[in-house]
Structures are given as structure tokens and as C-alpha cells.
């Protein structure tokens, strides 16, 4: 519903992914949250909270191969919550797992991912937003 507007998080693939046909591959996605803000972890403390999630668009030579690996979240207590919340702050990496079909075409390509998050600071929350993650790859 909300326009995307201002972002409180950025995400990009750390480096180009080089993978062989028929093999598995992993890509590190570097995430950076603006100072003073936090986002819910992939397993928020409350059913009403919106988790951090990464989804890859289909197409291209890479196929998603299992859930994204998130770092261990922080448990932070905020003025507006009775109990500590499971959140991410600052800079961290996600690990995305792929497999390359044996029949995949050799050569370069780009996978597009959508990282959805919902940010808050110490006294306000902001509507859920999505940032695009571009992963360049080379199939050998």
C-alpha cells in the first residue's frame, strides 16, 4: 500500500558469483541498516511483526536451493516493548544458496532478489519496504 519512499536499509551482493554447471553455490549479501534503526529478524518476537525475508525471482541460470542463512539476531530491549525484541542492527551478511542445473547455459547473468524489511527506531516504526538485490553471476 505504502509508496517505497525513504529506505532505512541497503543490500548488495558482496561479489560476483562464479559457479559450475551441476554444482551448488553460495552468495554473500551484505546488508547495512542505518544507525539508530533496527529491523525485525527473520524470526520476530511477535506474530504481528514483519520478518526480514529475501526472495529471488525465478529465471536465469541459478535456482534457489534452500532457505537463506541469516546471522544470529540480537535481543534488544526498547522503550516501547515489554520484552526484548529479536532484531538486526548495523551491518551483517546473509548467505543465499543456489544450485546450477547441469543443463544451464554458460556465461554471465543477473539474479534479482527482493529483501523485505520493516524498520523502527526508538519511538517510531516505518512501513514495510523492499529493496532490490542484484547478484551478478558467471556460469562456467
Amino acid at each position: 500500500m505504502w509508496a517505497q519512499g525513504k529506505q532505512y536499509l541497503s543490500a548488495e551482493a558482496s561479489q560476483k558469483l562464479v559457479a559450475k554447471r551441476g554444482a551448488s553455490a553460495e552468495a554473500k549479501i551484505a546488508v547495512s541498516i542505518q544507525p539508530g534503526f533496527h529491523v525485525n529478524s527473520n524470526h520476530p518476537s511477535d506474530d504481528y511483526l514483519i520478518p526480514l525475508s529475501l526472495k529471488w525471482e525465478s529465471g536465469g541460470a541459478l535456482e534457489s536451493d534452500g532457505p537463506t542463512v541469516f546471522p544470529k539476531p540480537q535481543l534488544e530491549k526498547y522503550e516501547f516493548s515489554d520484552k526484548p525484541l529479536s532484531v538486526f542492527t548495523g551491518d551483517f551478511d546473509l548467505l543465499a544458496k543456489f544450485k546450477v542445473p547441469a543443463a544451464a547455459s554458460q556465461g554471465p547473468g543477473i539474479m534479482l532478489g527482493k529483501l523485505r524489511y520493516q524498520a523502527c527506531n526508538t519511538n517510531s516504526c516505518f512501513p514495510p519496504k523492499t529493496v532490490e538485490v542484484r547478484l551478478s553471476y558467471q556460469i562456467q
Binding site: M1, W2, K6, Y78, N123, S124, C125, P128
Partner: protein, 208 residues
């Protein structure tokens, strides 16, 4: 000073503070910072549906003091304020006061109905949209709460978690004031200046 006496003094101070400000988990109340009458602008009108599918217009509330709360179920600070607003509704509804919640969840009623039932919200809730938010200056942060006087003019706005006492002071001042006429803007036009006459923080205006 003995430890016992010091303890007594501290406890007395705490209880006195609670009496004056309320024992809220957040910051103490500041004096209400209502805009002077001459600087208030008409609140933009809207038509949104409540849980029963009935159309609710802000102009329906003309003559009442209205606390208009933009919130969402994923918003922690909003959940601190909601019980306060339920208290205000109970305490002041017979004095010409109403709380109106505008939920901004993307999932609309699918998200809101269970929450309203869980919490037992006793005031009217409608589901808002981008258009509603734009009329009020482009709501970006939640909660954002407007206090509207009996003339339908915006007397105060709070972005983010505020103190219960600050709201209470403002509501009481507004309830005591006599209406002057004028009022809620009819129709859907966005007010001149784009912010409904509300002084939102610069980073929120035009941020979307």
C-alpha cells in the same frame, strides 16, 4: 540521611511523579503544545470503512474533539499508546470526545480485525490508504497522532511515541475550549502547502 529515610523520600517522589504524570513506561508529560487558534488549519476530510463496512468521515465528528491516530499492528510504539487512547475514550466520550484509529497495515482488515479483538479496542478503527496519508502530509512514521478541535481544525500533531500525560493535557484543554466555527475541509482536496497545515518534521514531508 539514613537509608530508610532516603528510601522513603525516593518512594514519595516516585509516587508523586506517578500522580502527576501517570506511571507510563515512557517519558514524562510535557505541557500540551497546542497551536494557537489562529494558526490551526482545517483537518482534511476522508471517507473510510470501519470493520462493519460503514463509511466513516472525519466530518461526521464535527463538534467533537478527535484524537486521530495513524497506526499499524506491526508498530510497537503504537501498541504502547493504544491502551492510553482506550482510557481517553472511556473517560471523555461523554464530553464530546472520540478516538479514531486509522490503520495502515498493507493487509488491511486481515491484520487489523484479530488485533482489535485481541486488544479489545473500544474506539472506532478504519483502514487507511496512501490517499488518506497524503492528505495528512504523507504519513511516514507510525504512530502519528493528530488532535483535532471542535471546529475540525488540527490543534496538535505528534510523530512517534508520546507521553500519556501530554495527550491528556492537550485533550483536556481542547475539551474546555469553545468552538469558533470553520472546520473540517470538505471533499478530498489536499490542503495548500501539502501538509494539512501541520508542522511535520522536515524529513517526513516529501519523504515518500
Amino acid at each position: 540521611m539514613s537509608a530508610l529515610r532516603l528510601g522513603t523520600v525516593l518512594l514519595t517522589g516516585f509516587l508523586l511523579g506517578c500522580t502527576i504524570y501517570g506511571c507510563s513506561p515512557v517519558r514524562p508529560a510535557k505541557a500540551a503544545s497546542l497551536k494557537p487558534d489562529t494558526e490551526r488549519h482545517a483537518a482534511p476530510d476522508f471517507a473510510l470503512k470501519d470493520a462493519d463496512g460503514k463509511t466513516v468521515r472525519l466530518s461526521d465528528y464535527k463538534g467533537k474533539v478527535v484524537l486521530l491516530d495513524f497506526w499499524a499492528t506491526y508498530c510497537g510504539p503504537c501498541k504502547i499508546e493504544i491502551p492510553w487512547f482506550m482510557d481517553f475514550e472511556r473517560k471523555h466520550k461523554d464530553q464530546g470526545f472520540a478516538v479514531l484509529g486509522i490503520d495502515m497495515d498493507d493487509e488491511g482488515w486481515d491484520a487489523v480485525k484479530p488485533f482489535v479483538a485481541d486488544v479489545g479496542i473500544n474506539y472506532r478503527v478504519v483502514v487507511g490508504n496512501d490517499s488518506t496519508a497524503d492528505k495528512f502530509g504523507g504519513i511516514e512514521a507510525l504512530p502519528t497522532t493528530f488532535l483535532i478541535d471542535r471546529d475540525g481544525k488540527i490543534a496538535d500533531v505528534h510523530v512517534g511515541l508520546t507521553s500519556k500525560g501530554e495527550f491528556e493535557n492537550a485533550i483536556e484543554q481542547l475539551l474546555q475550549a469553545r468552538p469558533h466555527g470553520g472546520g473540517i475541509m470538505e471533499g478530498a482536496a489536499r490542503p495548500a502547502g501539502g501538509s494539512g497545515g501541520v508542522s511535520l518534521p522536515a524529513e517526513l514531508v516529501g519523504a515518500r
